[in-house]
Symmetry: C3
Subunit: 489 residues, 3 copies
Amino acid sequence: MGAVQSFRDMCDSTKNTNVRFSLPAVCVVWQTAMIILFGIFIRYDEESDPHWFEHKKLNNISSDIENDFYFRYPSFQDVHVMIFVGFGFLMTFLKRYSFGGVGFNFLIAAFGLQWALLMQGWFHSLGTDGKITIGIENLINADFCVAGCLIAYGALLGKVSPVQLMVLTLFGITLFAVEEFIILTVIHARDAGGSMVIHTFGGYYGLAISWMLYRPNLDQSSRLQGSVYHSDVFAMIGTLFLWMFWPSFNSAITDHGDGQHRAVINTYLALASTVLTAMAVSSVFQKHGKLDMVHIQNATLAGGVAVGTAAEFMLMPYGALIVGFCCGVLSTLGYIYITPFMEKHMKIQDTCGIHNLHAMPGVIGGIVGAITAAAASESVYGHEGLIKTFDFEEAFKDMVPSKQGGHQAGGLCVALCFGIGGGILVGAILRLPIWGDPADVNCFDDEVYWEVPEDEESIPQILQYNNHMRNKDIADTNFTMEPVGRSRS
Amino acid sequence: MGAVQSFRDMCDSTKNTNVRFSLPAVCVVWQTAMIILFGIFIRYDEESDPHWFEHKKLNNISSDIENDFYFRYPSFQDVHVMIFVGFGFLMTFLKRYSFGGVGFNFLIAAFGLQWALLMQGWFHSLGTDGKITIGIENLINADFCVAGCLIAYGALLGKVSPVQLMVLTLFGITLFAVEEFIILTVIHARDAGGSMVIHTFGGYYGLAISWMLYRPNLDQSSRLQGSVYHSDVFAMIGTLFLWMFWPSFNSAITDHGDGQHRAVINTYLALASTVLTAMAVSSVFQKHGKLDMVHIQNATLAGGVAVGTAAEFMLMPYGALIVGFCCGVLSTLGYIYITPFMEKHMKIQDTCGIHNLHAMPGVIGGIVGAITAAAASESVYGHEGLIKTFDFEEAFKDMVPSKQGGHQAGGLCVALCFGIGGGILVGAILRLPIWGDPADVNCFDDEVYWEVPEDEESIPQILQYNNHMRNKDIADTNFTMEPVGRSRS
Amino acid sequence: MGAVQSFRDMCDSTKNTNVRFSLPAVCVVWQTAMIILFGIFIRYDEESDPHWFEHKKLNNISSDIENDFYFRYPSFQDVHVMIFVGFGFLMTFLKRYSFGGVGFNFLIAAFGLQWALLMQGWFHSLGTDGKITIGIENLINADFCVAGCLIAYGALLGKVSPVQLMVLTLFGITLFAVEEFIILTVIHARDAGGSMVIHTFGGYYGLAISWMLYRPNLDQSSRLQGSVYHSDVFAMIGTLFLWMFWPSFNSAITDHGDGQHRAVINTYLALASTVLTAMAVSSVFQKHGKLDMVHIQNATLAGGVAVGTAAEFMLMPYGALIVGFCCGVLSTLGYIYITPFMEKHMKIQDTCGIHNLHAMPGVIGGIVGAITAAAASESVYGHEGLIKTFDFEEAFKDMVPSKQGGHQAGGLCVALCFGIGGGILVGAILRLPIWGDPADVNCFDDEVYWEVPEDEESIPQILQYNNHMRNKDIADTNFTMEPVGRSRS
């Protein structure tokens, strides 16, 4: 008994969660590196440069409204809301990890988007002068890139330190940019809403890391797993902002005109359909048909993931509804059966259930995309429409839809390989005992990395005190002195 | 005593709130029907079809930016936020019905918008080939149509089952589409922001249903009526998103250019004015001049409703302020006097007070619209402006403003009739004892239809336990085993 | 002892917080004045008037899409969200002042924007016919103007009455409009994102008022200072909506095309950089490296303030990162050192720490703007670009960048003077004992001005009761009768 105890003590003593040196160091070093690299590489593109005036003249552009900014800015802001409020609040559902959910999401997204601008720039926007020029589309792509890492965070929520998250993000963005380059440019797959590039990759990346970081004694913090009433309502803020703005996500970088328009319609319909089947399955599997907030918060979004690749194609409105229908069912079943199964038999602890919300629907999305692409024809798209939608130009001008379908499938495989392989690699790095991750007993607890205010329980006492003070003489009471204002020195 | 008791027991025993069969069945059947009907009827319109390229050439459209998508997409997303976050969070104010407020709102909106695309399509967008073609404007109109049913839900909040809500939505959308066709197309009334079509109809539809479903013993759940501190703050999220995006609501489908521009200005001003008078009346009717969150959450929005019809007309900025001024006063007085009066003497239990926020301001909006239309003149609008604003074209090219005013008033009457008549009809259907509605004692309680997490009270115990664990040897404690992750199997 | 006590009693007895007469009177009188003044002065401009059709023809405008509405409406809605949800929810962090935070923010913003339309109109948009014509840009400017007053409210949060806030707003808007006219028109400084005009002015205006209203015994309400767990999560809603939409804030009124595009990129980058350094400094100054929500909620936004003036200039992407880097550090240090210092030694009680979030970063922004302007050259901007960016036209066509830098510095001084001077003046007015401000012991307490619902503590009792009721015969229980619905009569 004593031996076991001292061994466990030792294990726990290695869990030093003090990040007072490592977190600031990582933040400052990496931010400094960003400044230097941005100074060397990043410039404004011709649409955000004061020479736009001359550019307009040269290219015979009649009005400022044709600046790409006006085609994409509303979608960009919606995507931005999804990244910071959507993902952030979706992760506030745990009873005592809301600060970590929304706060670390904020941290890694803010770092990730800078690194993404560089990585994606080197692969996609590097000019002949060795400079990366950026405009609104690059900002959207950077947000997309970050989404992959935030998805991965979902699997690890509550079990990792902020320093680990920064490392996860650095590697995640790097892997993402390479994978994206291979899928979109080398293989020439289309993936407007990122079913493969973002969701499949991000999902399996997170699951593989979670597998590498398996905690056999995680039940020691089971008292903190699960939600309370208000934290479930907070999570609905995240769910709804993701759900509402998903049409913008899937259409943000599609073709001007009909491309953006069609992607919005398809996504809107797929999501609506998902809500109904997710609710149906949630109800049918509970005693008395009661609905489960876990399913409502997550499975209702699966349709948006699964329609990502095909959103810009001629999926047809009923096709979008069918995709949403199936995903609502499968995703909810995933929460009921697959997540506990993976936990018990596969050593994968998936806090937010990203397998059911991102990984599996992402794969479905890749398959739907491949089928829809293979089935494309000039009779449906028109001659010009087919070329424009699938970008059958330059090196790929001899491409045909059936072959494009194969390329789409190839893209899906690349995303899977990068996700799983990359996750195992990064997971191995994150196992090193230097990152300040919490002990099993302290998982899902904001106390570890945050200054947490006093409990709510003191409120009734305050109110009682309050009423008391109003009714009696206040002069002979001594108050404790405390500095005013938002300082907490 | 025993006889009374057994009678009440019997009544209560008929209240079987188990929706494990009915809810999934309704969701799956109706979603399947949607897929089939969409397959038969719904197609992309020329602006969201890959033939847009040829369409542009044919119609001499110079740039993709003239795709209707770019005129309406930002407004569409704002309206979407109003429907899902605005209405959803406004209904989270009850202390133990936040899940039902935001969750059922989500369910019926997601179903309603699909059915609305079909119903409105049959009336407004049916092509000669028997197909309905949809684009961004149809999505906005579908959201509008759903709003009518969500308003009705406000009157019934906490007292109906999700199955009843699905039935209410199916009939509500159907009635809406017919009513809208009569008002806008047959009578040729204008109603940009839907004061009549949406708010008057939706308001009276909900009130009539509530009257049909009157519960004399609703006081048995009075302990759950009312808010708690945090639920009132949640409801403010709904209020503010409705308030902020109302200019988009009223301008979303008005004419390109000055029409959208003017509708935004009028709505912005009317809403600002309403806030001040709602606060004033709220304060003057309370002891010590304290403000009541019920009024701040609801009455501040009445100006947006009342300016809906006239938002695109030359209401003039001061006119918008006057409308807002009056509605702030009347709506707040409604919460203070009319809602309790209707409850006591008219057997109408209106949980959210939709009479004061939608029904009454909607009627005011219809009247303001009729007056403003009747007062229109070429000197104010210009020759072309008058024709364009009131759509005096084709069959109505001989229309004059004074006559248009009469048509507006006629439209208001139609909205009233459809709301009240439809509500009584649907209310009768919903009285059937087959829908799984809650007993009087269980109203306003999420426990009935939702898996509700453990109470917050356990948090301090968790924290105590937490501190305890940090300070002592953890090895000899036995924890209960529980599956990790978002599964709740 | 008795004498001291009776003196304090007298002081407290002068603190009559009953605003039942004053608040409604102020609201109604001022709203009526607005209606009259709007009737005399405010008209639609040519882009929101039905004569737009003729205006298009006359000015050879080819499409409705070139109406300024489509250039600015998405940004306007984002700014609107920042004003009402961003500022509003950022101020919900106090444990028992969430109603006051979001509610009074709503009140003064709704009043302020009307008065701002008039004040700014008289200075900037007064036509030869004595009418002010308004369009979407005026609405944005009105929201900007209101932001100055909301910033000032941050310093006074919890310590003033709604009537004082209305007075503060009336004078604040007036001072703002004069100051803005001097800085932008007379001095010809550029200030797209309002670092000087909005943040420096608003920050010092609030701090000066707080200094005038110093409360030596504010520690009497120290039990209510600080947050609880959920109120900190609510405040994050405000933080994130401010953070996400700040690019829209800084670009909302910049030049069409490259101007708006560049301002977005610069702001996006500066804010990302700020998050990392704010987190770093927050962690390094706490025991165990724990993060403090006060810093995450506030200091992460400082970069957006500091990049405001230079956002439309050629600050370069790395320049934006540097500005963000410095502001994250300085702002967090401000919360740790400066706010307590000002409280103890300068008699300035700054509830939200606006000095660190607005005043100081605003000054930095003014300096950055002056340097960037002075360093501008034709080689970087191009000939046309330089003229367009700095508006070197008409009376200022002989201006050169170096001189413009001086004008920028001059503008900063004017903002400082108006802020401090105006604050002292208005603070003196607000000291009069007629405004219904709370006693020291009642600060930060919603009870004073709001009907607050029963405490959450009653929920477990409700639940217990609930379960109890389900298990036993309900017939012989007497319930208290209470009106249903949202009425609280």
